[in-house]
Structures are given as C-alpha cells and as structure tokens.
C-alpha cells in the first residue's frame, strides 16, 4: 500500500470532480430557467423574453460543453485509480452511472439540437417542450449521479457475495429516503446557482446602465426565485442533516466538532477544533439544548461525540467542520441579498440602490462556493470510508498504483483542465459582458446538436448572421 499514491489519487478525484461539478450545476439551473423564460415568451408574447432566451442559450452551450468534456474523465477514473472499489461496487455504481449516461445522453443530445437550430422548423409548443426535455435531461443526470453518491453514503439494498456488492433491491438503491432528501438538495442548489448568475448579470447591466429591459427581468426573476428557494433549501439541508445523524454519526460529530456525548447537546457556532487534545479552541457555543434541537429536532436528544467512535474511524475533523460553516455562511449572505433585493424590487427601489446592485453582482460565486463546500462536507465527512461503514478508502485504491504514476496523472489533469477551463470561462465572460443586444442572431445554420459550443463562434457573429429585429 502506497500512502502517497492514495493521497494523490484522492486529490485527483476531488479536484477533477470539483472542476466538473461547477458546470453541470450551472447548466441544470440555466436549463430550468430557459424553460421558464420560453414559457413566459409563449404566454405573454413579449420580445424581451425571446432576447433573454437566445442570450442565455449561448452561455448554456459553453457550460454544457465543458461539463460533457470534464465528465468523460469521471467515467474512467473509478477504474484507473479505484479498481478495488469499481470491481466490488460495479454491479451497483456502474449500473447507476450507465443509466446516467444513457438517459442524459439521449434526452440532452436529441433535444439540444432542436434548441439550437430548430426554432423555425417546429411549432412553438414543441420548441418549449424541447427546452423542457433538455432541462429534464440535465436533472435526470443529477438524479443518477446523486443516487450513486447516496449509495456510497448510506449503502442499502445489497448483499456481499464473492467480494462484490450484489444488488437485491433496486427500489431501495435508487429511491432510498436518503436519495429523496439529497437529490432535491442538489437540484435546489443548482437552481440557486442559475438564479444568482441571472440576477448578477442583470445587476451588472443595471450598474453599467445598459440593456435596461433585460436587466430588469433578470434581476426580478433571479432574486424572486432565490428568495423563494432559499428557505426551501434550508429545509432540505436540515433533512440531509437528519440522515447524517442517523446513518453517519462520525460525520455529524465532526461537522459539529462535538468531542463528547452530550444529552441534551450544545451547539458550537465557531471554533478551531484541536484534534490532538480533543477540544475546541476559541469556541463560540450555544448552550444545550440548541445542539439537540438543530441535529434532532428535540430538546432532550442525546448526540454522539467523537470520543465514542474509534479514532481510526474519524474523518479529518477540521475540514467538514469549516466547509459546513462556509456553506451555511454562503446561504446566510444569499438570503440577505435575495430578501432585501426582493423587497426593494417590490418597492420599485432597487434600480437606485447601487449598493444592493453591487452586492447582487458580486454574489454570483456564492452558490458555487456553497455547492463545493457542501460537497466537501459530504465527501470528506464520509472518510475514512468510501462506501460508508463497509469499505475503507485506503482499501479501495488500485493496489499496484505507485505514487510516481499518480503524481504524473494528477499533474496532467491539472494542466489540461486549467487550460481548457480558463479559456471556457473567458468566453463565457466575454459573452456576458457583451450582453444580449447586437448579439442576438438567428440560430446559425451549421450549429448542430452535438456541437453545443458552436453557437458562440466569433465567425458566426459577423455580417452573414442575420439580426432579429428587436420588435419581433
């Protein structure tokens, strides 16, 4: 067992998936938003919705393409670095991921083509339907991915035979109660990412005094949606906490930096967990029964502390403790921005309030930071297990993987990813800065289903492209 190779493999998996997760969560949110906008366009007939739709479709195209490219690596990495895991859990995880590929590939690829070049060839209701199908495809993709991860968090519906996890209840595996709180939690996070990106773009245009009509719609829809979804997200986040309390006591104890069993428990708000001495430094703590109230909805419940768990089964306490607080912190700031913003919109005062416009503009990274830190909480908190309670991460790695080879692959992925994502992000930024007007062209004749990024070619935006009259 090569411990360095293990660490490098974990870093590699973590960083490639962190790169990847940004783009799908963005495109899930934007796909849903496109459906809403297209619906509004059909319903009200206002051209501003059409302008906004065409504009965000282009941005969706780039994010979608980058998500696809970075996703290919994920299908291979389980086998290259985690061959023991993939051999044992292939009958379950491989099956779930194959469903993801088949379903998402089919729905997205088929209907994305219609979005790009089918507006003039299909009736309006079918165009709306196609938009909804793309949104459904991205959401279904999230369903299977989260189902896969939920099984790793709380394995169920299987027996172990000949060293393999053999499924015996697919209903439990795909539709477990854990999945039903984690999938909505992820989906809402993606919708919030979309809502904040839209609102931030609107705020940006408003600050620069351009695209007034579009900016108004983007600000309103983005902030209103966020204001409604954020409390719902809190509920699902809380429900996710409940499954952690029941199924993963070690993760919960680490998130709360709770060292001793307590009944009823106190709640550490902020501290520096001192793992060596099993105590918290500089702690700001709410007295009992706040810990029990938050974790178990009870005034008297006993909460497990790390000391009643064997230290070899502890996750690295500091990481989940802080990543969880970063996620919650992002949520608090988002609530503040969304609620104050919605109130000001309601009072028709937001357009004069430059401070709030700046806050909205600068808030677009928050949902992504929250997604990443929430994901770190879930994954690092699950350690030292890869399949919780059943298979240790250290035993899941390809046994003959050397640290040299693992270092090479980590370096190659880092270089390639940084390279392509730097350019991709730059192109998205350029499109956003330029805004909808003057960029609105009819779908280029050569844009095709399988080439989402082709919608944004510079070549296409020059004279031969036909501009849609604004009053259409």
């Amino acid at each position: 067992m090569d411990l360095t190779a293990l660490l490098l493999s974990r870093i590699q998996f973590g960083s490639t998936i962190a790169f990847h997760i940004i783009f799908p969560s963005f495109s899930i949110g934007i796909a849903a938003w496109l459906t809403v906008v297209e619906g509004l366009h059909l319903w009200t007939g206002r051209p501003v919705y059409r302008l906004i739709f065409e504009f965000w479709l282009k941005i969706f195209g780039i994010a979608f393409g980058l998500g696809v490219v970075s996703g290919i690596v994920m299908a291979f990495q389980f086998g290259t670095n985690w061959s023991v895991l993939s051999r044992m859990s292939g009958p379950i995880q491989g099956v779930l991921l194959s469903y993801e590929t088949f379903m998402a590939f089919f729905l997205e690829a088929s209907f994305f083509g219609i979005l790009l070049f089918g507006r003039s060839r299909v009736p309006p209701w079918f165009y709306l339907f196609s938009t909804a199908m793309v949104a459904l495809g991205t959401s279904l993709s999230a369903f299977w991915i989260v189902a896969n991860n939920s099984w790793m968090q709380v394995p169920t519906g299987y027996v172990v035979q000949n060293g393999q996890f053999v499924p015996n209840d697919w209903f439990k595996i795909t539709l477990s109660p854990v999945q039903w709180v984690r999938f909505p939690h992820m989906l809402l996070a993606a919708f919030l990412a979309g809502a904040f990106c839209v609102a931030a773009t609107g705020a940006w245009y408003r600050l620069r005094g351009i695209f007034t009509a579009e900016a108004r719609v983007m600000l309103r829809m983005g902030l209103y949606l966020a204001a409604v979804l954020l409390p719902v997200q809190l509920v699902f986040g809380h429900l996710c906490g409940e499954y952690v309390v029941h199924h993963q006591p070690s993760k919960m104890a680490a998130i709360e930096a709770r060292w001793h069993d307590e009944k009823p428990a106190s709640e550490v708000l902020l501290a520096w967990p001192d793992v060596e001495n099993r105590r918290n430094l500089f702690a700001i703590t709410l007295p009992p029964p706040f810990g029990s109230l938050i974790d178990s909805d009870s005034l008297t419940a006993a909460e497990v502390g790390l000391e009643s768990i064997p230290p070899e089964n502890w996750p690295p306490v500091v990481i989940p403790f802080f990543s969880f607080r970063i996620m919650v912190g992002c949520w608090l700031v988002m609530v503040l921005v969304a609620w104050v913003g919605s109130y000001l919109i309601h009072k028709e005062r937001i357009e004069q309030n430059r401070m709030l416009l700046w806050a909205t503009f600068l808030s677009f990274p928050l949902p992504f930071i929250a997604i990443l830190s929430g994901w770190v909480t879930a994954e690092v908190g699950r350690q030292p297990w890869v399949v919780y309670g059943v298979l240790r991460t250290a035993n899941a790695m390809t046994p003959f993987l050397t640290s040299r080879v693992a270092a090479i692959s980590l370096a190659v992925y880092c270089v390639v990813y940084s390279f392509i994502f730097a350019f991709g992000t730059f192109y998205i930024y350029r499109l956003l800065r330029a805004g909808p007007e003057g960029r609105l062209v009819l779908p280029p004749a050569a844009a095709v289903p399988n080439r989402p990024m082709s919608v944004v070619d510079e070549d296409r935006l020059t004279p031969p492209a036909r501009h849609v009259p604004a009053g259409e």
Binding site: T80, P91, M103, W170, R451, S454
Partner: protein, 328 residues
Amino acid sequence: MVMFWVVILAVSILLYVLLDGFDLGIGILFGLTGNEERRRAMLSAVAPIWDGNETWLVVAGVVLWGAFPNVYATLFSAFYLPLLLMLAGLILRGVAFEYRYKTQRLRWVWDAAFAGGSLVAAFIQGMTVGALLEGLPIADGQYTGGEFGWFSPFAVLCAVGLCLGYSLLGACWLLKKCEADIRDAAYRLIPCLAVGLLTFLVVVFVYALAENLQVMHRWLERPNLFVFPAIGIIAALVAASSVRRRRDGLPFYMVALIFVAAFGTLAISFWPYMIPFSITIAEGAAPHSSLAFMFWGEGLFVFPLMLLYTVISYTVFRGKVRSSEGHY
C-alpha cells in the same frame, strides 16, 4: 442476459471505432496539411458529428463498468498511463474544434492540439489492442505488469497500424464528404495509406507467428475464423477498384467493412475471454440482478433510441459539404 450485454458492448465499441475512427483519422491527416482552406474543409466534414461519435466511448465505458465490473477494474487500472494520455488527447482535440475559431493569434496552438490529440488517442487505442492480443500479465484477476507492462514492440506495431487504419478511414470519409482539392488529395493519399496498412498487417501477422503468441493458436485451430479475413480481403478489393474508378461514396463503406471484419476476427479469437487469456465473459460479468435492471430500462428502451438518434443525425448531415459552408 450476459449475452445481451456482450452484444451491446460489442456494438458500442464497434460504433466507436468506426465513427470516432474516421474523425480521429481526419485529425491525423489534419496535421499533414498547413493550408487553412483545406483544414477548414476537413473540419467541416466532421464538425456536426464528432461529439456524438465520442459519446460511444463513454457508453462503452459505463456498460463495461456496470455489466462487466471485473473487466473494467482490471483493464482500466492496468492501462493507467495510456488511458490518461488518451483522455488528455481527446479532451484537447475536442475543445480545439471549438476554440480554434475564437482566436487568430493562438490558432496554431489549437491546431497542434487537434492533430496531436487525435494522433495520441488513435495510437493508444491501437496499443491497447496490441497489448491485449499479446496477453497482459495477470494473476488471480489482478494486473501484475507494473507501470509499463502494456508496452511492447508488438503493441507499438499495432498502434502504428491503427493510426494508419484510422487515417485511411478518415481519407475515405473526406472522399465522401468533400469536393475538388481535398477530394483529389485524398485520392492521392489513399493508395499510400492502404499499402502502409497492408504492410503493417503482414508484419503484425509474421511477428505474431514468430513470437508464437497464444492468440495465433486459436487462429490456426479454428479455420472458420478465416471467414472474417476473407470478408476483409473482398472489401479491400472492392475498395481498391472503387478508388480507381473514382466512386466517392463507396471506399468509406468498404474500409468500414474491413474494420468490421478485423473487429470480428478479434472478437472471435478472444472468445470466450474478455481479457485474453485470463478473464472470461462469465467471470467478468456482473450478477444477474444488475444485468436485468440494466436490461429492462436502458437496454430495451434507451439503447434502440440512441441508435435511432445516431442514424437521424447522420441523415440530417448527409451528402457533400458545400464550399459555401466551408468557413467552418
């Protein structure tokens, strides 16, 4: 149920080899010309479909994992470095398709990435097949060959062979899709590629005989295996005559048929092994409950739809690429 997934896997891999084969081949040929007009024409011949082609690789990968986890785990961990290079190549060439038109100054970077990425991906795929033919060092279902156990002169021979094969397939696709300049260039190139490929096939065969590879015994033991090479030879003859008579459409299908024949030869000479000669299909397969769950959803319903979608997408983009669209 196991057989159903063997067939789905075989179809996915074959589709990948045929479809991504020609666009990787065009990527390799792309590196041979410096002419911007020609480069645009070559790209426009594959631009609408390459992404869909590559998706078949992911499909094959996840089917392998879900339906044959033992094979997936053993193969992918054994080919750690080659797969890394192949993925890097595929990613770079994939984004190059899109990024090269967004810059003038840095276009050469993306062009190099496109040609280099295609070449690396094709080379690695050939090497993988070569290493499998030679037999990977495996004990108790576990790869024991070390970091470079997949590397051998024979594997390199197969890799060069596959690069030539893909290039030939790519050149034939260009005949089918392009006109004038590019088409003439392809006609000039095809005989060279064909002769090169033939030479490599002979060398590989002789090498396999000389090294007394285990897979050779199977060929000699099972004479009806020669049906596939026979189909290949007939296809090659038809291809040669259609090239001579300048029938633009036909050579691609004939070369594709040669690939099918080669694939069939490989498949039957591996049979019943999935990794020759250590893991059989039965040993590699997932338990029945997994295969059945896959069958009743994605196998029975989604897979036919995916095939249909591929057909539709090729039908929409059939025919020659007009030069007016040549700016892509």
